[in-house]
């Protein structure tokens, strides 16, 4: 069996995964850099976090799967998109291991890895993909050897909007700000009116963020609403926009399936809304849980395998990283 | 005389009568102003065909259904709905009966024989036989210039395609439909 080890570190999660050629996930472990309430993660500190944990994580992955490095056929790492310093710190480690172990490297697009992992786990054939995370918000559809972006945010990502609001209301970043907003939102009752901005397939979130920030800081108005109400309203508004856009892409491309991936994709309210949407149009939705939704090493390993089996490897001097790496830049060789 | 069901409101229908050479319009006006008449009397010059009356009638019944009549009753509402103008007085002036009119439409909602008899004895004029008219037969008294003036239809709008009368018809319907929504 061909085994690929995947390395992910484009944001604050450091993940190592080992995946077999039949899609078996042999190992998938993660270490997350968590900052105190009210603080985001800075690139420099995140890179430091990754550097200090990566070797231990690799050793643990091998140990818990009873494998030796000799069993690994290929190393896959995230080339981008992501934060520069964390990406680089992981790439450097991979280059080192590649020379130490004498293994080929495959450079992987992070977004593609999310999509392929989603397809692997759920068995979705040709879904419209709603890719929602701290750094990305895209509605994607496959056609003619490319994952094409049908719609996306024109300003900040949906996860970023949630994270930044979490900082405003000073809630913990553990396990993740989005998760804590989700819990608070369950207790929200009153819908606060927020801007709702979709332009064609594109969405805009920055106006919503500034509007809800202003509201949260307005002591007078906050006599009417609870923090829970704000979380609830924020989720309702953001997710409605996402589901609406995704539905339009499904209608436009004539697709029946939808797959949500990325960190925000494991939000249960979002999944519920997607289910309600597809049931109205006789479609099928696929969701994955936090093990595979949130950034992880296995997804990089699997996407790496798909490229590796088609003969793609990345020469050492090309194993660079890039903060900008469009989903539609990758030539998809492994799909019809 | 022609009777049509109101498509979206089962159980409702209108009957359209067209008169010409009417001699006693002033007397009819007097009756009208007393608010006694159970039908609408409509200036026929800006009406292109029966479709126009039916669309306005549908809208009138719709407003009745939601309890949102803008005017006093369904008959004035019909006239009001024909007009692009949201001013009631203006609308009644342009699309209702005027003293000097010799031709006009009478429209009844769910008309009965007894009412037709009343109309017959009230109007001293000739009822035009519309039995061969279909929904889109051009009203013989249609005044294109007046219609364009009342509905504010400019040359630019009519240039979009070449089928002249159809285009004008569409523009009239469109202008009626957008009433109150701008």
């Amino acid at each position: 069996m061909v085994l690929v080890m995947g390395f992910e570190g484009s944001a604050n999660k450091l993940g190592i995964g080992i995946v077999g050629d039949d899609g078996t996930i042999i190992s998938n472990i993660r270490h997350t850099y968590i900052t105190p309430p009210g603080e985001g993660f800075l690139p420099k500190d995140t890179a430091k976090h990754h550097r200090s944990h990566i070797i231990a994580l690799v050793q643990r992955a091998l140990k818990e799967s009873n494998l030796s490095y000799k069993d690994i056929d290929c190393l896959a790492y995230t080339k981008g998109p992501g934060m520069g310093p964390p990406l680089r710190s992981v790439a450097v480690t991979v280059r080192m291991l590649s020379q130490l172990w004498n293994k080929p490297i495959v450079a992987v697009n992070h977004c593609i890895a999310h999509i392929e992992m989603g397809r692997l786990i759920t068995g979705a054939q040709d879904p419209t993909v709603l890719y929602v995370s701290g750094g990305n918000t895209q509605v994607i559809s496959y056609s003619l050897n490319k994952y094409r972006i049908f719609g996306e945010t024109i300003d900040i990502a949906v996860g970023n909007c949630l994270d930044r609001f979490a900082r405003v209301i000073q809630i913990p970043n553990d396990p993740s700000p989005g998760y804590n907003i989700e819990q608070l939102a369950r207790k929200g009752k009153n819908l606060v009116e927020l801007p709702y901005l979709t332009k064609g397939m594109d969405v805009s979130f920055s106006g919503i963020l500034s509007s809800i920030e202003l509201l949260a800081k307005d002591k007078e108005k906050m006599k009417q609403y609870t923090v829970e109400d704000l979380c609830y309203s924020l989720q309702e508004t953001l997710f409605s926009m996402l589901v609406e856009t995704a539905e339009r892409a499904m209608a436009h491309c004539g697709q029946k399936e939808i797959l949500a991936v990325g960190g925000v994709g494991c939000n249960e309210r979002l999944q519920q809304m997607i289910n309600q949407m597809v049931s109205q149009r006789d479609g099928k939705s696929f969701a994955i849980d936090e093990r595979y939704c949130i950034d992880n090493g296995a997804m990089i390993a699997w996407a790496g395998y798909l490229m590796y089996k088609d003969g793609v490897t990345t020469p050492l001097d090309e194993t660079t990283t890039t903060q900008r790496f469009r989903t539609d830049q990758v030539e998809v060789t492994w799909r019809d | 005389m022609k009777t049509y069901p109101i498509v979206l409101y089962p159980g409702y229908e209108i009957t359209i009568l067209l008169y010409k050479d009417v001699l006693n319009t002033k007397d009819i006006m007097t009756e009208l102003l007393k608010g006694q008449l159970e039908w609408a009397i409509i200036n026929c010059k800006p009406i292109i065909n029966h479709q126009q009356l039916l669309l306005a009638a549908t809208k009138a019944v719709a407003t009745l259904a939601t309890g949102k009549l803008t005017t006093n009753n369904i008959h004035t509402e019909l006239i009001f709905r024909l007009s692009p103008n949201t001013n009631i007085r203006e609308s009644l002036k342009n699309f209702g009966l005027q003293n000097e009119d010799k031709e006009f439409y009478i429209v009844l909602f769910n008309g009965k024989q007894e009412k037709f008899d009343q109309i017959k004895s009230m109007v001293q004029g000739e009822q035009i036989d519309q039995s061969s008219h279909s929904l889109d037969t051009l009203n013989p008294f249609f005044d294109k210039e007046l219609s364009r003036k009342l509905y504010g239809i400019n040359d630019k709008e009519l240039k979009a395609t070449n089928e002249d009368i159809d285009l004008l018809k569409n523009s009239i319907f469109n202008t009626m439909a957008i009433k109150g929504l701008l």
Binding site: G82, G262 | L64, N110
Partner: protein, 254 residues
Amino acid sequence: MTTLATTNNNEIKSIENITSLPNSVLLSQGAEAKTYKIDLYGIKCIVKERFVKAYRHPTLDQKISGKRILQEVRSLNKCKKNGIDVPALLLVDVPSNRIYMEYIDGITVKQYLYNCFDQSKETSTTTTQTQTEAHQQQIDICAEIGKQIARIHDLNIVHGDLTTSNMLLRNNSKSNIVFIDFGLSYTSTMTEDKAVDMYVLERAFISTHPNSELLFKEILDSYQKNSPSPKVAKAILDKLDQVRLRGRKKLAFG
């Protein structure tokens, strides 16, 4: 019954369900609305009924539907008044989220381009001349698209969902493009918004029609050349370059 005005209003029932109308045909279910074809007093009529989105909070849903239906009819009306071919409105029923409008006889521009594409590909049965003709037809229609969008933008209307499925050819004539589905349209004077409108079209166009970069360029050329305000059009296209780049630049991490 004396007059209808004195009858009990509650007795009046409108048809809640379009499908209960005789001869109504469901044409499509889009993301926003269902469209039916009915006969309305001898007029071929499209009924566009926005449906309630089960996933959306009812208050939010109502607010959005109400706003969009008004935007839609206002944009349609403004286009029509300015000689841009759009379906004529017949009835607008805001409470039940329905717009009744003129049914347009004709194929979509999307279908038309596919047909041209097929013609140009059938090398065994067609001559080079018909291939050239098919190509010219594609060019012509793209020029017309560019021109008409420029006119719409000149009215400060942003369509919001420009795709080749939202353009019909009245009587299948390529010189007569009818723009439909203004459900996401809005009024704006901003270059940015119009540039994004073009960007939406560009992405939809290039992903729907294979090898269509050249055809899309024709749309852009004509957009500028035939705009009532060429300078403004130029500024919009310059902005479009930025919007394209921004799509790439904005992509961060995660």
